[in-house]
Symmetry: C2
Subunit: 211 residues, 2 copies
DNA sequence: ACCTGAACACCGTTCAAGT
DNA sequence: ACCTGAACACCGTTCAAGT
């Protein structure tokens, strides 16, 4: 009897995605969603089945959107690095949805386009067979793992005892620069480049700088 | 009037930990916990505050238990690798609780003992200051990230289109060994060692094999 | 100090009934 | 084909009341 409106599957999915995008999966309740859409809760069930199926569909779409990755650079190593960097950026754009993909164990599926690009660069670098496959997988694991750790850091509350205090006392006098770095917020941009390059150097072969 | 029993804080925590350990955080409801303890739901609130505080306490204990890590091996690089391997093993022993620690953003705090051990090895390898700090942090990120990705893989449902099919068609004839490896289940033991060694070699300095 | 049941405000889901 | 409200079985949490 209140201001009810007809809805369709698409509008349900869009509203759900919006809720998840800025309040996280926990922020998506069927009742809130219904209220947002101006329909009865049960209308949603007609269109999307249930909450689980709704989230599954959102996950599928996210996987699809993670689409193509473009490699840039002169050497295979540089191009592989550019894939890793692009991947990290893309993953960080949709944190909540990526978390859902991860929860549902579809990370690998989502990574397929990037995997293709990396295989191409591994071949270009002269790698073949198991060595190439492992080089690719190591880099995949690395990128996804890094993003997960990074996100965690950002969501983190102020660290309990505070890392600074723990380092000040002991190692500080021996190696103050180390204590300062470990005490502060990590520069994840730099850490990512550093570790990505280290892995690529080991597994793709070190690119010779031209000069 | 039913078979109610007096409880204390410790018994509540133990019962809660048991529930989380084998049914996951989602399996812990205050009502189930009360039933398990043979007390009224509200008795739990008197002892531990609320669900959030209860989980916080479990997390604190897990962090404490993650305690010391022992380095083994001849060279600093080998010893750093042993820390990484031990860390991975420990993390994999308590998946649900580690997930909770992670959710609460206390991963870094939990990693402090390992961080100390790694700093020691970095110093032994002759690293100082920012370089040492970064070498340590890269390895920390690496281990935690790897374990998160690994766990995800294991919880994963059968991959949707199945990676095998996707690789068969295209690259298979060019590089059948690669297609076979990427189509199969990753040997994460090997991937972890491979990537850990690659990072250590780049950042700690490559250990010379004695022969 | 410790525990109780009742009550409140939420959930997701099912279902018979309406148009 | 699409939507409804009522009902069920769950939640976490608060609170006045008991001992």
């Amino acid at each position: 009897m209140t201001d009810r409106q007809p809805i369709d599957r698409e509008s349900v999915l869009l509203a759900a995605e919006a809720l998840v995008r800025d309040r996280g999966p926990a922020g998506l309740s069927m009742r809130k969603l219904a209220a947002e859409l101006g329909a009865a809760v049960t209308a949603i069930y007609w269109h999307v089945g249930n909450r689980e199926a709704l989230l599954d569909e959102l996950v599928q779409r996210t996987v699809a959107e993670m689409g193509q990755i473009e490699a840039r650079g002169a050497t295979p190593a540089a191009r592989a690095e550019s894939v890793a960097l692009a991947l990290r950026r893309k993953l960080r754009e949709r944190p909540h949805l990526i978390a859902l993909v991860h929860e549902r164990g579809l990370t690998e599926l989502m990574m397929l386009p990037a995997q293709r690009a990396l295989v191409h660069e591994a071949h270009a670098a002269g790698l073949r067979g198991t060595a190439a496959a492992e080089a690719v997988r190591v880099l995949q694991f690395h990128v996804v793992g890094f993003v997960l750790v990074e996100r965690n850091r950002e969501r983190a509350p102020r660290q309990q005892p505070g890392e600074p205090e723990l380092w000040d006392a002991e190692t500080a006098e021996q190696d103050p620069a180390l204590a300062a770095t470990l005490g502060g917020v990590p520069d994840s941009e730099r850490l990512f480049e550093l570790s990505t390059r280290a892995l690529i150097a080991s597994l793709w072969g070190i690119p010779r700088p031209k000069e």
